[in-house]
């Protein structure tokens, strides 16, 4: 899929742990981990809004569109 999740980058910038974020937005750690790895089929607007509120960022800071043939990990590092 052409969408790259850069949640881990934003977590590092905010110096926040996954567990703290999971508790704050009311998501299980397992689901947050799957989201960080981009192994989900979709994100609800509600979850996205909570993530943005908790991390004080915009949806565009968490999700990026990239061409399919590039390595998602590389693209995440480039952000």
């Amino acid at each position: 899929m052409g969408i790259v999740v850069t949640l881990d980058v934003m977590l590092a910038r905010r110096k926040m742990r996954s567990r703290e974020l999971a508790v704050e937005i009311g998501l299980t750690e397992a689901n947050l981990s799957l989201l960080k790895q981009g192994r989900v089929k979709g994100v609800r607007f509600e979850t996205l809004a909570r993530l943005c509120a908790a991390l004080d960022c915009q949806p565009g800071d968490l999700l990026h569109h990239a061409k399919d043939n590039a390595d998602p990990a590389d693209r995440a590092r480039d952000v």
Binding site: L27, T28, L34, L35, V40, K41, G42, V43
Partner: protein, 178 residues
């Protein structure tokens, strides 16, 4: 995050558990009661009309009994499949491929039971009167609303099982949305 289970879910689970138990009991009671009738009154008691003084052999009686017992046995098997489906619901797994598969098995067995009930009277009297002199053999055709309704219901349950299978796919898809 933990949250309390909705009351409707708890009720549905409890009802499913009770229904599963009823299905289990019925699955054994139904064939047992038919077997008791067969043992007590003979295969001819399962169909309307009366024998005209046949003296069937033991083998004919056994085969006719088998033909009379088959619908009840298949209905019992259908109830066991219904129980399997209800057990999945009782576990709180509403849209699971297991439940859809169990429902489909139930539908197939329901249709088979109804079809067997349709042909059972014909088979029973053909077998019982096979040894009778020419001209005294019986061909009985019984078409009742019960077996026909069973076929229609079985087909409807089959369709519902297909919808359940689709719902299970959607639920699996939905589970991957956070």
């Amino acid at each position: 995050m933990t949250c309390a289970e909705p009351l409707a879910d708890t009720r549905l689970k409890r009802r499913s558990r009770v229904a599963a138990l009823v299905c289990l009991v019925m699955a054994f009671l139904l064939p047992a009661s038919v077997a008791a009738v067969l043992a007590y009154a003979g295969p001819g008691a399962l169909v309307s009309g009366s024998p005209s003084g046949f003296d069937p052999t033991r083998l004919a009686l056994f085969l006719a009994g088998l033909a009379g017992f088959a619908p009840a046995l298949l209905a019992g098997a259908a109830l066991l499949s219904a129980r399997a489906c209800l057990e999945v619901f009782a576990a709180g797994r509403w849209f699971e491929p297991d439940a859809a598969a169990a429902l489909r098995r139930m539908a197939a067995r329901m249709i088979a039971a109804a079809a067997a009930a349709l042909v059972a009277p014909t088979a029973i009297w053909l077998i019982l009167s096979a040894g009778a002199p020419e001209g005294e053999r019986m061909l009985v055709v019984e078409i009742g609303s019960g077996p026909l309704l069973g076929v229609v219901l079985g087909a409807a349950v089959w369709l519902i099982s297909d919808v359940m299978a689709r719902a299970a796919e959607l639920a699996a898809d939905h589970a991957e949305i956070v």
